[in-house]
Amino acid sequence: MGHALDTLEAATLAGWTPVHVRLGGAAPAVDWALIEGPFSEPFFEQTAQRAMQHPFNQVFGRTTPLSALEALRRSAQGLAPAGFIFHMSRCGSTLISQMLAQLPATIVLSEAQPLDALLSLRRRAPGLDEETLVSLLRDMISALGRPRAGEERLFVKFRAWHILELPLILRAFPGVPWAFVFREPRAVLRSQESNPGTEVIAGTIDPAYLDLDAALAYQLAPGVYSARVIAALCDAALRAAAFPCASFIDYDTLPEGALALATFFGIRPAAGDVERMRAVARNDAKEPGRLYAARASGEQASPQIERCAAEWLDERYAALKRAAAAR
């Protein structure tokens, strides 16, 4: 990855995939690699990691400015997204994306860092106007969604916090159907407590999204902070609940809910596809090959989780259930 920025000729990026966007330098830069095989790992980061183990990408990996993305989109348009998946974290969204990946000729981009980096530019580069961000999003999804083996369909699963940028994403991709996946809040809080995701680490999400003073964000107890982040994610989804392109998927309905989502996304899976999708659902979505072991639903929440769920999440969970039932 070491050599200098290319003078770009977009045609030379045929077959190359953006694997990482670096924001730490004077200007953002995109790292590109040649990836063999489908994006079959549960997360795009794992696919990128696999690609970067090959010495070719270590020696010949390329780095370009962001402007390369626009040039590439003009010369080689990727697939238009057929559906977006948003979620409140720890709620079965990875299972859904793995099930959708079983459909033929399908690319599923799962929590790709290059998209995360662009969405974080609003905070990191406050001077950047919304029009530019919209274009960058289109360019990046086009670059990531170029067919590599005859694929015809693209789904994008976003990171949990990206629902906070739903208006921007829908402005870039109006009319694309999307789903918000949710789960009983005590189970989500328990999972975040035992193994916190980046989204519930204070400072990773702009406190303005959470209606929080920046200093206060660091002072809250981790469980309270988690609950407030998840509440903000739910609010962002609920604000758009009336949109005709919106769908709400309850964890309790999985795996059948994922089959219904495929239909919502305009797909009628063949019998063989449904069989493969159900087979995947028997495994742990984040560790394929390992059978999924559900936690006992009657497990008692700690007093703090109980308090946080009651104060910040129960009403929202009920509203999400109503939104799901209304579809």
């Binding site: 990855m1 070491g2 050599h3 290319d6 000729e9 045609a11 030379t12 990026l13 045929a14 077959g15 190359w16 990482h20 670096r22 730490g24 330098g25 790292d31 040649l34 063999e36 970067m52 183990q53 090959h54 010495p55 070719f56 990408n57 270590q58 020696v59 010949f60 990996g61 390329r62």
Partner: protein
């Protein structure tokens, strides 16, 4: 830093997607030897040290990606 010969090879790979795909398809175990052979065919004197150093730098850059 990459030698001039390796830098020239990188430029050629960057400019030729088919050539890039051919090198990407190499087995990792045979990568260095095959790339040296390809370089020689192109009249470029890329050494084993050039390639091994570049692999190490690439690996390091990837590991350090979150802070660069």
């Amino acid at each position: 830093m990459a030698s001039e010969a390796l830098a020239e090879l990188q430029r050629r790979v960057s400019g030729d997607p088919a050539f890039a795909q051919r090198l990407r398809a190499l087995e990792p175990e045979r990568f260095v030897a095959e790339v040296m052979r390809e370089s020689a065919r192109l009249g470029l004197d890329v050494s084993e040290d050039d390639l091994r150093g570049s692999i190490a730098r690439g690996r390091h850059a990837w590991v350090m990606r979150w802070i660069r």
